[in-house]
């Protein structure tokens, strides 16, 4: 089975994240880049499927040059090779444009199964899996906390508010995973050292037959019109319990229309 895992480099959530004042895109220099956490679950799931069914795991990332750090981590965990889609023309792509660029690349490199994390910690749109499936003309099996493959049949458990749905389809397909799905492995030292020698193919937009006018800031359908820093948190209200703490708490919640 030919599995492609999409991974994204995101700013470390532990550091302060900023937008650039000039073009209102993410300031990638302001924070350390790390692998989007949910994507580690996607990599782990891909590795487990490969271990059970054989095949190959390819990492696909779209991002600037320094995103290779993210690729190395996925390769160190055990992925076989990587494709890095990197082109200045992609800077500022919105979700629609990203899905187009990624779909073009996926068509080019081929796949039986595409696995993604269900959202990224930076943009948090959570729509990429659905958009990719639509563009690729494959079934979308999103928000999976369990994946089973049997020949060309694939079944997942989709997490819902009320429990889970069982969703079945036939490969090729696109799957997005949630964090309950597994426990991602730590890269071993042997894996880290072997990652250096694994093949990373870098593609520009021309290589992947991506039309320049459909991507980047200019090709984006959505636009960041304005942004502002979150207001500092107001000081909290301290309720002193003088035997009536319960009533006071309830009054407070009622005043905010929580109850």
């Amino acid at each position: 089975m030919n599995i492609v895992v999409c991974v994204k480099q995101v700013p470390d959530t532990a550091t302060e994240r900023k937008l650039r004042s000039d073009d209102k895109t993410l300031d990638r220099d302001a924070a350390d880049g790390v692998v989007n956490e949910l994507d580690e679950y996607a990599v782990e799931e891909a590795l487990r499927l490969k271990e059970a069914h054989g095949g190959e795991v390819t990492v696909l990332t779209m991002g600037p040059g320094r995103a290779t750090e993210t690729i190395r981590k996925a390769l160190a965990m055990g992925a076989d090779k990587a494709v890095h889609l990197s082109d200045d023309a992609l800077h500022g792509s919105d979700a629609l444009a990203t899905s187009y660029a990624m779909a073009q690349t996926l068509k080019k490199i081929g796949f039986d199964l595409v696995i993604l994390g269900s959202e990224s910690t930076d943009a948090r749109t959570g729509v990429l899996a659905a958009m990719l499936a639509e563009r690729l003309g494959t079934p979308q099996l999103t928000l999976a906390n369990k994946v089973d493959v049997d020949g060309t049949a694939i079944a997942i458990q989709r997490v819902t508010d009320y429990g889970f749905d069982k969703v079945e389809a036939t490969l090729p397909a696109v799957v997005s995973v949630v964090e309950k799905i597994n426990d991602p492995r730590y890269p071993s030292f042997k894996g880290i050292m072997a990652a250096k020698k694994k093949k990373v193919e870098t593609l520009g937009i021309a290589d992947a037959e991506i039309a320049a006018e459909l991507v980047g800031l200019a090709g984006a359908w959505s636009e960041v019109a304005e942004f502002a820093a979150a207001p500092p948190r107001a000081a909290g209200t301290i309720v002193k319990d003088e035997g009536d703490g319960g009533t006071k708490t309830a009054d407070f919640l009622a005043s905010k229309k929580f109850i």
Binding site: R72, K73, P187, M193
Partner: protein, 390 residues
Amino acid sequence: MNTPDAHDFLAVDHDLTDEERAIRDTVRDYATAELLPHVADWFDAGTIPDPRGVAKGLGALGVFGMHLSGYGCAGTNAVSYGLACRELEAVDSGLRSFVSVQGSLAMTAIHRYGSEEQRQEWLPRMASGDALGCFGLTEPDSGSDPGSMRTRARRDGSDWILNGTKMWITNGSVADVAVVWAATDDGIRGFIVPRDTPGFSANVIHKKLSLRASITSELVLQDARLPGDALLPGAEGLRGPLSCLSEARYGIVWGAAGAARSCFTSALDYAESRTQFGRPIAGFQLTQRKLADMLIDVNHATMTALRIGRLKDEGRAHHSHISFGKLANVRAAQRVAAVARGVHGANGITLEYPVMRHMLNLESVATYEGTEEVHALTLGQVLTGTPAFR
């Protein structure tokens, strides 16, 4: 110009390669998520309750014998090994000791001095953490002067018969195999002693006030009979065990920097959040002086470790370089731990904070693998040409 990062003030880690950084991050992530949450309880209990589980986890990463090549070992450079020691000891010296004893002492002895059969039999299982090893050199009456050991090995036909007691042996009572050093008619030799050897037993040493998240034991050899091929063929004389100790000491050079960093970080956080006399204690001049002194010690120790690591990878590390690092860094870490303990006030004496745990652990770290005096004498001998050990 950005303000320097308090946690790596001199940006020492900027000099690491991508691979070294990846190994550092893996050990740091693993140790923080899997070991740190339990270590205070283990220290409190005075043991590592599931040493096999800890060994399996560390083995899966590839920590054991990581700087050795072949036989299932990862084959990293010395700096990477040092970084792993630093990140483990930032959690607890007991965990770094666990790794030092397995990888630098027991595995290095077998890797360097063992026969091909001995290596094949033990190293892959020890690298994966499926088998645990220990290293028995010290005796009740023979510490800094190991040449005075009383444990004897004598021939009986093709077999060897060992008699004697080894003391303060890390992981002794949980090990599957002990590398035991004993005096023979031809000088000191090393032996591979499987735990089920008749006449061999191990007893846990209780009531320790230091390195409590570590198992320390006494090994007793009473007419322990070993086949002829239990002898390590490549090691003759004291040089054998001493060369293994030099490997483990190298890990301590880095480990001490980790313990110091942990104490400093905790003290900085605490000083910023603790308010007395109407403001954070970090705002007082006396506290700032302490923070500055700790910062200097931590960064000196880290630089020393990286410098010695680079020398080692270039094949230029003299045993006295390691003595320099062990003496300087453990002493620096002890200073930092004591000051950090004070900054935490009463909270500093509890296991809620890492400072007193490190402070107590460092007493063992200062003693084992050559005391401060022994390393000072080593440096003195190199400087003056005059040995002053006896």
